[in-house]
């Protein structure tokens, strides 16, 4: 298993040099004092915790998995102890509201830790990530009583949380969910139904689990407008706000899965469990979208994290493993063969991994800053712009970074040759773990429809224009720099083309709504490559301003060149494919797909 080493230099480069975190935090109301020192401390301590405590659990977790019994779910050896250290370290409170004991740090600070945690041990990070998302939702939507009861314990990490959406017959299509809520006289509800795929629905790491459950109140309208959100705790708090009676919610079984085996994926049975309404009746999806957006960015981050881990493993192996001679003559003439890293195709795979991980890091950290600004921006207009942009970019980040992360993890196996297939090396686990990321929190197809249908066409191109203008402005700002010309020329060209493609698709979609679905995934991938192109151009611009003897900065520029020359051309195929339209997709009758 690759021993994870937090890429602290790159994280610092992205935060401080590329995204100018000082100015960014200075413009957030009440968050002005997020200092470089604080960031440094989080990076340093987060790295230590992830490398020393979590990384050793990654393979153990995969091998042991979780164990279900009538009494509950047992997590693998060491998971609980690591969580205790995490809670004692105060990590759960980092981005929590100060009103309930939190440190009130903005999301972009939390993301630094989450990246490291996810790289070191994806499954472990599921328990903490979802708990935090649940707490953030309650901070925004629950009434004061619920907040006072639940948030202090979720902030100090004693209690955790889940999101319960999916049912056996409905995944993406929440409009048809059946779990029902019957009102009680005391204002609470009885929740009855079955939820599946509930991550951390039951486990032994925290004292209590707070489920956020979508259900339909008796008599509510059909479809998505009749769904409400409920808080259903595993243990009902007693008068002293300690855990009291066991609620009627139980884990019926856990799933056997391809990967993230140490993350308990639970079937949750609600048998008239006591629940409390969160937010307004029939407005449950509205609140849940808040959590889903943060979960989507979290999933993007997992794609990056696992891609980074795979890169680290592959790089170590490519430097050590001796196999074949370089085509341009021996590079290790004393040894029996040259190290793998001399071979151009091995370098192609490694550089693809590197370019995707570092580009995605800059991209996701930037989107997280936009979320910061949307939440806390001191300036109203900046807040609105940030909301718009983050809404556009979230589905791109979620689907693009997980799809390319999966490619990267597969390259990581490929660099190992046959050894990549052997569990002992840990490279195949990364692929298995990562494989969930293009499925959960909305598949790639769902993200793509959200992007092209809702965000791009649904706003008449307004959100997209906000982004292409930003790119245009950046390109203009770099025109005077000769060394930036190759990046700027290509990026400008793609930026215009992106608008043209969108206009063409818009026309087609007016005539046939299926054109949206037919183009959507190609469109999303195209958008992702352009977005990362923007990031790489920005990183090159910063790196080229720095000390040209700094090997790190030099490698940045080289990686940017690699990205532009060897990865960015992929836009061309996506463009051609999506402009070829829906006809060849829709023509075949259903019963002619197979004979």
């Amino acid at each position: 298993m690759p021993q994870y080493k937090a890429p602290t230099r790159d994280i610092e480069f992205v935060l401080k040099d590329v995204l100018d975190s000082s100015s960014h935090y200075a413009a957030l109301a009440g968050r002005e004092e997020v200092s470089e020192d604080l960031l440094d401390a989080i990076i340093t301590e987060g790295a230590k915790f992830s490398e020393n405590v979590l990384s050793p659990l990654n393979q153990v977790g995969d091998q042991e998995g979780c164990t279900w019994s009538e009494e509950g779910v047992t997590t693998p050896t060491g998971f609980k102890e690591a969580y205790q250290q995490y809670a004692e370290g105060g990590w759960p409170s980092m981005t929590a509201d100060t009103q309930f004991g939190g440190q009130g740090l903005p999301p972009s600070v939390g993301i630094v830790l989450t990246e490291m945690v996810s790289s070191a041990c994806w499954s472990w990070g599921m328990y903490t990530g979802l708990s935090q998302s649940a707490a953030r939702l309650l901070e925004n939507y629950a009434n004061a009583e619920l907040q006072e009861t639940y948030l202090p314990k979720m902030t100090d990490g004693t209690w955790g949380g889940t999101m319960c959406l999916t049912e056996p017959h409905c995944g993406s299509d929440l409009g048809i969910l059946r779990t029902k809520a019957e009102p009680n006289a005391d204002g609470s509800y009885n929740i009855t139904g079955t939820k599946i795929f509930i991550s951390g629905g039951e486990h032994d790491m925290m004292e209590n689990i707070v489920h956020l459950v979508l259900a339909r109140i008796d008599g509510a309208p059909m479809g998505t407008k009749g769904i409400s959100l409920f808080l259903v705790p595993k243990f009902l708090p007693d008068a002293a706000n300690n855990i009291g009676d066991r609620n009627a919610v139980h884990c019926g079984s856990i799933e056997h899965k391809m990967g993230i085996k140490a993350s308990a994926t639970c079937v949750m049975n609600f048998d008239g469990a006591t629940g409390f309404l969160v937010g307004e009746e029939n407005r449950g999806l509205n609140a849940m979208f808040h959590m889903m957006n943060s979960a989507r960015l979290g999933t993007a981050l997992q794609g990056l994290s696992a891609g980074e881990l795979s890169f680290q493993g592959a790089l170590t192996y490519a430097r050590e493993r001796l196999q074949m001679r370089s085509l341009t003559g021996p590079k290790n003439p004393e040894g029996p063969a040259d190290p793998l890293i001399v071979h151009p195709d091995v370098r192609r795979m490694l550089l693809t991994q590197k370019a995707l991980a570092e580009g995605s890091r800059a991209f996701i950290y930037w989107v997280a800053q936009l979320v910061d600004t949307f939440y806390y921006g001191a300036d109203e207009e900046a807040r609105e712009n940030a909301e718009e942009l983050s809404e556009l970019l979230t589905p791109i980040a979620k689907a693009f970074v997980t799809e390319t992360g999966l490619e990267s993890a597969n390259y990581g196996m490929q660099v190992y040759g046959g050894h990549g297939y052997i569990s002992e090396w840990g490279m195949e686990q990364i692929v298995r773990d990562l494989r969930i990321a293009t499925l959960y929190e909305g598949t790639t197809g769902i993200q793509a429809l959200d992007l092209l249908g809702r965000k791009v066409m649904g706003t008449g191109g307004k959100q997209l224009m906000a982004f292409t203008k930003l790119i245009h402005k950046f390109c203009k700002s770099q025109e005077h720099r000769d060394e930036m010309t190759p990046f700027i020329n290509k990026l400008s060209e793609l930026n215009s083309e992106w608008g043209e493609i969108t206009a063409k698709l818009g026309e087609k979609a007016m005539a046939n709504a299926d054109e949206v679905g037919a183009a959507s995934v190609d469109y999303l991938m195209y958008s992702g490559y352009v977005a990362l192109g923007f990031m790489w151009a920005k990183m090159a611009a910063v790196a080229l301003e720095g000390d040209q003897d700094d090997a790190f900065l030099k490698a940045k520029v080289q990686t940017a060149q690699f990205y532009f020359q060897r990865i960015l051309p992929r836009t061309e195929s996506h463009k051609l494919s999506m402009l070829n339209g829906a006809d060849t997709l829709m023509a075949m009758p259903e019963d002619a797909f197979a004979f």
Copy 2:
């Protein structure tokens, strides 16, 4: 787990209508009497065996895996019994030499069964596939005594075989292998060394296992020119040619792997085991290449087989699972939602799977026919041409079909949404099983170097020209058909472009040998898309000549259109990427990849 249904209609279409098997077999010396009736019988009986006997073992095999003990390796429940049925059915003798009890059928007939077996249960097919390859090698390279001792029992399936190449420190780089062979006075050798990744190195399905082992005779030259091939049986045959003394070769352990868990991947320890030279001293690689070429085509077939199985599973689910409404209005207004198959992006995934499986089937079956002609062609010139073409196409088939097969299997999971990640459905197993195929029998990178370095540039473009001429001739032959114009125009254009790209790469490579490695994988994928484009144009040409009310033929043409419009544009990105050259791959110093 998807219940496999052999795609017999498509297999018949490819063999009879597209590849004109009657004329093909009529031109093979001694194989003229391979009739349509015989093919039909093999398809029908092979389908029955695969669907009824093997398919039910697929998931069991994954769950149970193999079990190692000092005494040997136990295969999962039902594997041994299925093998008995297979042997009693006479299947092992199908392509074996008639001199030793075989039916002497050409490889292209064997491939029909192998496709079905691999779809139904990949792991099970490993034992029989490698045994057959080993027998074919002995037929070609072993002396009469070895042949008479071993081949009758391998032909009736009592004994099986393996290929033992890889060692802990060498996979692709066989030149550095260390296993040694010391001559005995009786002409045999003592073989000492450790081989890893030996599929079926030990198991309980057959009475004896005949290992074909690469080793270095004392005093042999270093590198690949000092490697000899030895036959090392698990049990030494006694005077009556039954199994006698146990030989000093043992399975030290089996690997824990991502997939194909029911295929025992063994560490084999040779402790002075008795071995017999096969072929000439120091010419072992030459003989092994024979086996490797057949194994490479077999691996391509596995990529197709698993892609087909995943397509079948995804199609069933897409027809049954109700989720969301069509963007163009309800298609199942009485139900709570529409079936997945109404959604354009789901269709895009299914059609990609279908186009890749059917295109790859035509491609591989055609390459197998070329191998037939190379082996048995009555005409000398036809034999030479077939040898040349099959050498060019084998690495393309191996790498392209396994890479795209993996894409297809991932789409199969994706169609299932979150359920695709759950083991119960069987879709994730297909990805795990298939993942080995881009690694073993030479990674994609190795195939790509073989293609561009050896086959294309190594022959001064002669082999490639043989193929592009064939495509050109086909395009010319279709010029008069209006309905073929869209296919022919695009194919001609790509065919010329392929030559131009090759010439450009050739120039670059003269200046810098690393340009070959830098371009190789993009070049291979480009070649694969063109080759499948040729196959799809051929299939469209045939289908458009048939009854236009035949839904099967209509779907063929639609799938061809889909392939040309939505998949073939991928050549564009590969072209741009490879022509951008090696510089951005080679510039970065080794120690600047990470900080």
